[in-house]
Symmetry: C2
Subunit: 97 residues, 2 copies
């Protein structure tokens, strides 16, 4: 699947967008921290594995980078693909005069 498609697909799920928002709020969280936030702040009831799979999709799309440290794995938000996307997406631009 091409990179654009992976990006759009990753953004297509509301739970995944919520994860991004939470990582933007506090960068470098572990899986369990993220799960806790989704439950507390957003009332989501997804299981740990479900969130883990969502994180895998986000990682595949380049939106999240992971850093292992001991038995923890910290997830970091990467806004690069999003910035690149809004720069490159040709629809949202004026037509040449």
């Amino acid at each position: 699947m091409d990179a654009d498609q992976e990006l759009f697909r990753a953004l297509g799920d509301p739970t995944r967008r919520t994860i991004l928002v939470e990582l933007a709020d506090r960068d470098g969280q572990t899986l369990f921290e993220i799960c806790g936030r989704l439950v507390m702040k957003h009332g989501l009831t997804s299981s740990r594995q479900a969130i883990s799979q969502h994180l895998a999709v986000l990682e595949q799309a380049g939106l999240v980078r992971a850093r292992r440290q001991g038995r923890y794995k910290f997830r970091h938000l990467d806004t690069g693909p999003l910035r690149a996307l809004v720069e490159r997406w040709p629809i949202d631009r004026e037509a040449p005069p």
Copy 2:
């Protein structure tokens, strides 16, 4: 479904994004014109009904507006939702100092 979700879902499909690109190239096309362009310029083999359903999704998301005129229905691109999206989407912004 909330508006953001409809937008992201609409953008999630590559065929739908191609339709948007074609409408950006030439605004106000009919269903058959769009079908022709998808076949000619992009090698897509989707049926008329498939494209019609894609257009319905795009319309639902507010990305396409339709104007009936006799037996023709002209589709117009609306870049408003896209512009609003990149303005509002909180990830792609610097944190306040």
